[in-house]
């Protein structure tokens, strides 16, 4: 019980702040709460499949095959697969982080995880189609052509900057988070 309250402490603090905001500026406060409620229900609609798939991935896909296809030494194949999985995803970027934790547990290389996150954030296929419709093909395709190499370069640089020790720590932390027992 106490640990639950502690977990949600930040949420309650922000909620109280929004409450004060509403007292001082009624219209902005109410607008903020309405938008928050709306995006909360939107989230409840979009997100469940991500977490069900994450659970299925965790239980069914053996670590050995994940390492083979996306682990250290998976080369171009691993890069392409990470790009593809990220692009095929649906849902907001923050839903990609729990999925990354399962990837870490399964032995996917750090570089490929960052590529996956990059693809999730920039090249989701349904979003690109929508982008073409609203901003035009030349805008969307130019952005995509710059972004895809950019994602890979950022991933390579990041896995160089961040030391082996730190990566190990991040992986261990992910392990603990997925631990049910």
């Amino acid at each position: 019980m106490i640990s639950t309250i502690k977990k949600y402490r930040a949420f309650f603090i922000v909620l109280i702040c929004v409450g004060f905001l509403t007292v001082f500026n009624r219209s902005i406060g109410i607008k903020a709460l309405t938008i928050s409620a709306k995006s909360f229900f939107e989230m409840l609609f979009v997100i469940p499949p991500v977490f069900v798939l994450l659970g299925l991935l965790d239980v069914w896909v053996p670590r050995e095959s994940m390492i083979k296809y996306m682990g250290e030494g998976s080369g171009i194949k691993g890069i392409l697969l990470s790009l593809f999985i990220g692009s095929a995803a649906a849902g907001p970027l923050y839903a990609a982080f729990p999925v990354s934790a399962v990837f870490m547990k399964k032995g996917v290389s750090f570089r490929n995880i960052i590529i996956f996150i990059g693809a999730w954030s920039t090249s989701k296929i349904p979003m690109v189609i929508f982008e073409i419709e609203s901003l035009g093909a030349s805008f969307a395709l130019t952005r995509l052509l710059v972004d895809i190499p950019g994602i890979i370069i950022i991933a390579i640089l990041l896995s160089k900057f961040v030391g082996k020790e730190e990566i190990k720590e991040i992986y261990e932390n992910a392990h603990q988070m997925n631990n049910l027992d």
Binding site: A32, S36, S39, G55, L56, V59, A90, L93, R143, L180
Partner: protein
């Protein structure tokens, strides 16, 4: 519409999983729920912050700041706005379209869209939970800088 496709695929896989092994399937659902519960407190914070932000900013305010003539200053502003806010794509693209019509430049919109997608300051608590502070800051910083390059190319090609 892609959400429905995703639901269909998920239900199909889940059904197949249950057909194969009930115990394992229940286990996977439990794991999925655990992962969701783990992240829920941060989610809720993010959602409240986004609500406050969107209630203050509106397309008119933004397009006043990042007009065609605003140059690199406008690009910087657009990148900062894009980094702080978090707007789902199906709202962001039509909004960007409106901004362009209201006089924003392509280079500035390029910076806005790129940072909206790649940089997330409000979602940092979630990212830090999984990747740690240093890594999160580094990734966002690099994506921020990279967005200027994206803006530059879009400004040259499209603008």
């Amino acid at each position: 519409m892609d959400s429905y496709l995703f639901y269909g695929l998920t239900i199909l896989l889940l059904a197949f999983s249950f057909y194969k092994d009930k115990k394992k399937s229940l286990m996977s659902l439990k794991k999925g729920w655990k992962a969701f519960e783990n992240i829920l407190p941060e989610f809720l914070v993010v959602i409240l912050l986004v609500g406050v932000m969107l209630s203050v900013l509106n397309p008119q305010t933004i397009s006043n700041l990042i007009g065609k003539e605003s140059g690199w200053m406008g690009v910087v502003l657009a990148a900062v706005i894009g980094s702080i806010t978090l707007i789902p794509g199906f709202v962001a693209f039509p909004t960007a379209h409106l901004l362009l019509q209201a006089g924003a430049g392509f280079m500035q919109i390029g910076a806005l869209i790129s940072t909206l997608m790649m940089v997330g300051i409000v979602t940092m608590p979630v990212e830090i939970k999984y990747f740690g502070k240093r890594m999160t800051i580094l990734r966002n910083l690099m994506a921020f800088v990279f967005s200027f390059f994206v803006a530059f190319v879009i400004g040259k090609v499209v603008g």
